[in-house]
C-alpha cells in the first residue's frame, strides 16, 4: 500500500483510493511529514460508531496534496504533544465529534458548539473554559471581549500579565458560530454557494472560488480564459482592498493619522472597483459555476484600469509616508515577533507565515498562477515582527496591483462563463480538495460525498484557523499596550474560524 494518495487541487477521487493505515502507521507518517509540510486539512468523517480521520498535507514539489487516513473510535493518543500544528485540529475533532485526543495539553472548546453528529447536544456556555493562569502576588489577569471597543468582530482574550508585560495570551472564539458546516451537509442545494461564500465576508471571492471549483470539477467544466482572468483579478482586488485597509489600521493604531485616513478611503475605492465588476463591494455572487456572472465591456475595463492606476499612486504616496516615519517604524520594529521556527511548528500560513520567513504561498506551491512573474519569491530574511507583516503587505500590494493591471489591459477574448447543468450531480463516495490563496493565506474547502453524491461532510479551513495561535505567540513578552498593533498586523477572521 502507498503511504499517501497524491491528488491535485480541484480533483475528485474515490474515498476508497485513500490509503487507510493502522493508527500507529498513520501516526508515524505524520510525525515524519508534518514538520516539513503544511497541513491543509485534518478532519473526521463519521461512520457508524467509528471515525475516519483524514490528513491532507501540501506537496509543493509535485504541486498537489498527499492524503492518508486512519480509523479511530471514541479516543486516540493525541498528536499535538509532538506536532503543535495539529493542536487546533484536534480540539476541533473533540468538539465536533467528541473524539478525545488523549494527552492533548489544552483540550478545551474551540467554538462552543454542539456535536455535529448529534449524539451530544450539550452546548457548553460560550467562553466558559479552563484558562491558563499564573500565580503570584504581582500577577494580574486581563480579560477582553467578546464585545470589543471598536466596530469589530467577537472574541475573548485572556492575558496573564506582570505589570505591563504579557506572559501569556489565550484566545477563545466561537461567538460567531453559525453552524455553516452542518448546514452544508446534504448539499449542494440552492443555499450552499451562499453559505460557503459568507464563511468570512472579507474573503468572499476566495471562498466562492473554492466552492464553485468543486461543482465545476464534478461536471468537468473548462473555464474560459476570459473568466479565468476575471476571477484572478477579483481575487487580487480582494487581497488589495484588505491589505490597504490593514495598512491604514496599523498606522491608525500607532496614531499616525495621515496614512490611516488615506488608506481608509483608498480601500473603499478598490472595493468600488470590485463592485463595478460584480455589483457588490465584496464581490458577492460574482463567481458562478462555469465562470463569472457579469462580463465587462472594453470600455469598462479601460475605466477600471484608470481607477487602479490612480488608486495605486495615491496608495503608494500614503504608504511612503508611513514607512518614512521614524516614530511609526520604532513602534513596528521588534514588536510581536514570531520566529520562523515557531511559525513552522504551529503551522502558520499565508502572509503572516511569509512575514516570519516561511515560503508558503499556494499561488506558487500549487502551481496555479497565470502570472508567476509578478509574484516575487518572498520571505527571505523576514523578521516576523509587526514591521515585517506591514512591509510584506506593501510588497504583496505591488504584486497584486501588477497582476490586476495586466489582466485589465489585456483581457482574453471569449465568453465569461461556460454553460453548465443547473442541478449538479457529484461523484458518489468521493472526496475533493479545493484550495485558494486567500489574502490571509491558505483557504481549504474539502468535500466528502455520500453514496448519492451529496455532501456527507463539507469542511472549511480558514487561514485564520492556522494563525490565531500565531497571534498568541506574538504577544509573549510584549507590552499589553502593543496588543492592538499585533492584532491588526495579523487581522485574522473570527467568523471564518467560527463558521
Amino acid at each position: 500500500m502507498n503511504e499517501f494518495l497524491f491528488c491535485t487541487n480541484h480533483t475528485f477521487f474515490a474515498r476508497q483510493a485513500v490509503p487507510l493505515h493502522d493508527f500507529p502507521v498513520f501516526r508515524s507518517l505524520l510525525l515524519r511529514e508534518v514538520p516539513n509540510h503544511e497541513v491543509a486539512a485534518f478532519f473526521a468523517v463519521p461512520e457508524q460508531d467509528e471515525f475516519f480521520l483524514y490528513a491532507a498535507l501540501l506537496n509543493p514539489e509535485k504541486h498537489g496534496l498527499d492524503v492518508c487516513s486512519t480509523k479511530v473510535g471514541k479516543s486516540y493518543p493525541a498528536l499535538t504533544p509532538e506536532l503543535p500544528a495539529l493542536s487546533w485540529f484536534e480540539r476541533e475533532l473533540f468538539e465536533q465529534y467528541r473524539i478525545e485526543p488523549i494527552g492533548h495539553p489544552r483540550l478545551k472548546p474551540l467554538r462552543f458548539q454542539s456535536a455535529l453528529n448529534g449524539t451530544d447536544n450539550q452546548r457548553p456556555e460560550a467562553g466558559a473554559a479552563q484558562y491558563f493562569t499564573m500565580q503570584g502576588t504581582s500577577v494580574h489577569e486581563v480579560a477582553v471581549g467578546p464585545v470589543h471597543a471598536g466596530v469589530i468582530e467577537l472574541g475573548h482574550f485572556r492575558f496573564q500579565c506582570m505589570g505591563e508585560d504579557v506572559y501569556s495570551l489565550e484566545i477563545e472564539l466561537g461567538y460567531q458560530h453559525r453552524g455553516i458546516e452542518k448546514m452544508l451537509e446534504h448539499g449542494p442545494d440552492k443555499k450552499s454557494a451562499f453559505l460557503a461564500e459568507t464563511a468570512a465576508g472579507d474573503s468572499s471571492i476566495a471562498a466562492s472560488l473554492c466552492y464553485h471549483r468543486i461543482l465545476e470539477a464534478a461536471q468537468d467544466i473548462r473555464i474560459p480564459a476570459r473568466a479565468q482572468a476575471l476571477r484572478q483579478a477579483a481575487l487580487e482586488l480582494e487581497r488589495i482592498a484588505n491589505h490597504i485597509g490593514d495598512s491604514g489600521a496599523l498606522s491608525g493604531d500607532v496614531a499616525f493619522l495621515p496614512t490611516a485616513s488615506y488608506c481608509g478611503r483608498i480601500r473603499g475605492d478598490f472595493l468600488n472597483i470590485t463592485a463595478e465588476l460584480s455589483g457588490n463591494r465584496f464581490g458577492r455572487n460574482y463567481i458562478a459555476t462555469g465562470g463569472v456572472r457579469y462580463d465587462v465591456s472594453d470600455d469598462t475595463a479601460g475605466k477600471l484600469l484608470a481607477k487602479v492606476n490612480a488608486g495605486e499612486k495615491e496608495l503608494m504616496n500614503a504608504l511612503d509616508l508611513m514607512f518614512d516615519e521614524p516614530s511609526v517604524l520604532d513602534r513596528f520594529e521588534n514588536t510581536g515577533t514570531v520566529s520562523e521556527e515557531t511559525a513552522r511548528q504551529i503551522g502558520m500560513t499565508g502572509m503572516a507565515a511569509r512575514a516570519s520567513g516561511l515560503k508558503r504561498d499556494l499561488r506558487i506551491s500549487l502551481g496555479s498562477p497565470e502570472f508567476p512573474e509578478h509574484l516575487r519569491q518572498c520571505a527571505s530574511g523576514r523578521t516576523g515582527d509587526v514591521l515585517a507583516r506591514a512591509a510584506i503587505r506593501r510588497d504583496e500590494l505591488e504584486d497584486s496591483l501588477a497582476i490586476v493591471k495586466k489582466i485589465l489591459s489585456a483581457l482574453p477574448e471569449g465568453k465569461c462563463s461556460e454553460n453548465h447543468a443547473d442541478s449538479v450531480v457529484l461523484p458518489a463516495d468521493s472526496m475533493i480538495f479545493s484550495l485558494e490563496e486567500a489574502w490571509r493565506g491558505m483557504l481549504v474547502h474539502a468535500a466528502v460525498t455520500d453514496s448519492n453524491g451529496k455532501f456527507l461532510r463539507y469542511k472549511i479551513i480558514d487561514p485564520s484557523f492556522h494563525n490565531w495561535g500565531g497571534l498568541e505567540m506574538a504577544l509573549r513578552d510584549q507590552q499589553i499596550s502593543d496588543f492592538p498593533i499585533c492584532n491588526k498586523s495579523f487581522n485574522l477572521s473570527y467568523c471564518g474560524h467560527d463558521l
Binding site: Q113, G201, R265, R284
Partner: protein, 252 residues
C-alpha cells in the same frame, strides 16, 4: 513634516457628495425591486435561496428583510426587476415587504427620535454572528469618503455612551448573553438598529440550531436596513432619515 503636507495636498479633498447628491452606485447594483405577480413562476419562488418571495391568492410579496440581493430571481425571469433605488431602510418591519408598488422613503418615526437625541446619534455596534461584511461597511462610514461624523453620527466604545445599538448578524446562540448585556448597559430610552439580512431575519442562517432568527427575536427594533451587506449609501441614508436629518434629499 513637509512630506506630510505635500501628501495632504496630493491626496486632496475626497469626501463624496452623498447625501447632497445621488450616490455613485455600481452598474450591477441591486436596489429596491419591482415585483410583477402576474409573471412570477413557482420556479422563481422556489429558487430563492432564502425563500423571500411569496405568492398567495394572486398577490406576490418579496421580503427585503430576508433577501440577500443575489439577483437570482431577476436573472431568469422578468417578474422581479431590481432598480437602483438605494433608499431601502425603514422604521418598521412591514415596510420591508415589497408588493409591487415602488418604494417611498419612510420617515415615520423621525420626529420622536429627534426630540430625544436632537440630531445626533451615538452608536454602539455589536456583531452578533454573520460574516463581518455588514460591520465592515458600517465602519467604512467613518472614513473620510463618507465622513458620517459631520452629521453627528458616531460609533462609541461604551454602551453607556450610546443612544443606539447597531446590530449585525443573525444573533448566534453564543452571542445571546453578550448582546443582552450590552443592551442592558445602555441608558434608556435607546434605539436598536439592525443592518443586513442576518440581523433582520436570520438571513442565510435562519431556522438553524446555532442561531436565532435575527435581532427581533431578542430585542425591540426601531430601524431596519436591508442588504447583504447594505451598501454604505443604503445604511447612511437610513441613519440620516432615522435621525430626521435635513441632508437626505439629494437633488434629482
Amino acid at each position: 513634516m513637509f512630506k506630510i503636507l505635500r501628501a495632504r495636498l496630493f491626496q486632496g479633498y475626497r469626501t463624496g457628495k452623498f447625501p447632497y447628491a445621488k450616490p455613485n452606485l455600481p452598474a450591477h447594483f441591486h436596489g429596491y425591486p419591482i415585483l410583477d405577480a402576474a409573471k412570477l413562476t413557482q420556479e422563481t419562488i422556489e429558487n430563492c435561496p432564502v425563500d423571500a418571495i411569496k405568492l398567495s391568492g394572486g398577490s406576490a410579496t418579496l421580503d427585503l428583510g430576508r433577501c440577500i440581493f443575489c439577483g437570482k430571481c431577476a436573472e431568469h425571469s422578468d417578474a422581479v426587476l431590481f432598480t437602483n433605488e438605494y433608499r431601502m431602510g425603514t422604521m418598521s418591519r412591514d415596510g420591508l415587504i415589497v408588493n409591487g408598488i415602488p418604494s417611498k422613503a419612510d420617515s415615520a418615526k423621525a420626529e420622536g427620535i429627534r426630540r430625544l437625541c436632537g440630531r445626533s446619534l451615538k452608536i454602539r455596534q455589536v456583531s452578533a454572528g454573520g460574516c463581518a461584511a455588514c460591520e465592515l461597511d458600517f465602519n467604512v462610514l467613518h472614513t473620510l469618503a463618507w465622513d458620517m461624523g459631520r452629521f453627528g453620527i458616531q460609533a462609541v466604545a461604551s454602551p453607556r455612551h450610546a443612544d443606539a445599538l447597531l446590530v449585525t448578524g443573525p444573533v448566534t446562540k453564543n452571542m445571546l448573553t453578550a448582546l443582552k448585556k450590552t443592551y442592558d448597559a445602555m441608558p434608556k430610552p435607546c434605539f436598536v438598529i439592525v443592518s443586513g439580512a442576518c440581523a433582520i431575519s436570520g438571513g442565510l442562517y435562519r431556522d438553524q440550531a446555532e442561531t436565532m432568527n435575527g435581532v427581533e427575536s431578542v430585542l425591540p427594533v426601531d430601524c431596519y436596513v436591508p442588504g447583504c451587506p447594505p451598501h454604505p449609501a443604503v445604511l447612511l441614508d437610513a441613519l440620516l432619515r432615522f435621525i430626521g436629518s435635513q441632508a437626505v434629499a439629494p437633488k434629482e
